[in-house]
Amino acid sequence: MRSPQPTSPPAARPVVATIRAPAKYRLRLAQLLSDKPVIWALAGRDLKSRYKQSALGPAWVVFQPFALLVAFTVGFHSVAHVQTQGVPYILFALTGLVVWTYFQAVTMAAVGSLVNNYPLVRWTACPRIALPLATLISNLPSFAIPAAAAVIAAGATGFLAIQALLLPLLFLWLVVLVAAVAIFMSAITVRARDVLSVTPFLLQVMLFLSPVGYGTSQLSPVLRAVISINPLTGLIEAWRWSLLGINPSTAAVVISLALTSAGVVVAWWLFRSLEISMADDI
């Protein structure tokens, strides 16, 4: 739907005709490439506007994982005595928080990314897929800060080993999983605002059902199987293996990878079928 734009006066150039017609969908994968500048521009907009007229501004990105880290240390370490297989608890929890903080930040931002941009969806030809995808970029600080802290801490305490070279791949996995959630949730919100009400609550429940502040090794086999259905479980365990050398449960990693791949396909399919009428449904 977005044709190349002229840079000179519009008369003397070969002109492409676009046909507007009834269709079941129109979004194409190739469009993601041409939408790249829009995705970055929207991400820039969100980053610039997020901390305007705020006293602490970007300091909040540091505060949130730090507060959770303190709470986990009290709750899981001091009270519940969670076992961490020889790794200092703070480092153990911090690694889980690398995945969680980014997952939570993007989900919260993406859920409303379309409905909060009502004028853009209703009155401009802005590619809709760019709105949830922009939240992946604008929330990167929520990943980068705990990730940098975890890598430095793991290096300083001598846990970093050769498998740390796989971290870029694990980051890619994280981004793909989070993208699937962002695309899926934002699209449903256009039709049903219920998602806006349910997301904060769902995230709270998920934080307890994900091995962020604890490990799965000491859980009963049944509980371990239940927790493994969560796509974050295998991912967090893979991060702990890569950074801290803690052996993951193969089943959890396989399930998580499978759910991530299936999730991306389902999310794309859903977004594509809802995208065409978003201006009318929003």
Binding site: M1, R2, S3, P4, Q5, P6, T7, S8, P9, P10, A11, P14, V15, V16, A17, T18, I19, R20, A21, P22, A23, R26, P37, V38, A41, L42, G44, R45, K48, S49, K52, Q53, P119, L120, R122, W123, T124, A125, C126, R191, A192, R193, I276, S277, A279, D280, D281
Partner: protein
């Protein structure tokens, strides 16, 4: 939307609408009462509204095409389809070249960003290259007469100033087809005159301009052809003077002489 390439032919119209229709459902998409009714198998179908019915027309390069009609007659829906924002329910519309829709003042602007940042954002959303936008920024500020305010957040702008910025962007960013939906309603007289002259200049340079306004005098002086939409159906398409005359007679209830 499916797109296909068509060879350029100078005589061919830029925009061709063929039997366009657009149907909406009235009422709310979802609500608790309706959900409960569905669960209880007592669902009530929402009534349909034909916002556009069987609309066909052609518009050519260098033409300024006016659309008049009452509220809810389908004018904006037509331009939304033209801009690729929403698909028609049936029929097709073929558009040659790029479309710059200006359907609501400040759609796409962010109130926390400055005029400069917003121009960048809007240009990118329109699909323009970074360098093209950069080369136009000074002109936009000058055209909108907002040079002093260009680095101030948009939330400090008056509505008129926002319209000025919006219009300046539309005037200076290149496109083949421009759509203006009642965007000159809140700007002052001097700026309005300048915009109208610029709209004429766009058409003179070979662009196709679609212009919606309830200011019939404006439409009459600006447009080469006018379409009168009533309840989603084109009642007349033709030369501005006669269409507007019959339309305003219809509005005021004065019978034809």
């Amino acid at each position: 939307m499916t797109s296909e390439t068509v060879d350029q032919d100078c005589i061919e119209p830029v925009v061709v609408a063929e039997r366009l229709s657009k149907t909406y459902r009235l009422g709310e998409l979802l609500r608790l009462e309706a959900t409960l009714r569905t669960v209880a198998r007592r669902a009530v179908a929402r009534p349909l509204l034909e916002a556009l019915h069987d609309v066909s027309f052609e518009a050519y390069t260098g033409e300024c095409f006016g659309i008049v009609g009452g509220n809810g007659s389908g004018k904006s829906t037509l331009l939304q389809i033209l801009a690729g924002i929403t698909p028609p329910t049936s029929g097709t519309m073929s558009v040659r070249g790029s479309v710059l829709p200006m359907l609501a003042v400040g759609a796409g602007f962010h109130h926390e960003l400055t005029g400069r940042e917003n121009s960048f954002l809007y240009g990118t959303i329109l699909g323009l290259d970074r360098r093209v936008i950069e080369s136009k920024l000074a002109d936009i500020a000058a055209f909108a007469e907002l040079e002093r305010h260009f680095d101030t957040p948009l939330k400090r702008y008056s509505v008129g100033m926002q319209s000025r910025l919006c219009f300046a962007i539309a005037m200076l960013f290149p496109a083949n087809v421009y759509c203006f939906d009642e965007v000159l309603a809140v700007v002052d007289g001097e700026f309005k005159e300048r915009c109208l002259a610029e709209v004429r200049a766009l058409a003179a340079r070979g662009a196709t301009v679609f212009f919606i306004s309830h200011d019939l005098e404006q439409v009459g002086t600006l447009c080469d052809r006018v379409m009168w939409l009533q309840d989603g159906e084109p009642r007349e398409v033709g030369d501005p003077e006669s269409v507007i005359e019959r339309y305003s007679r219809h509005v005021t209830g004065v019978p034809a002489t």
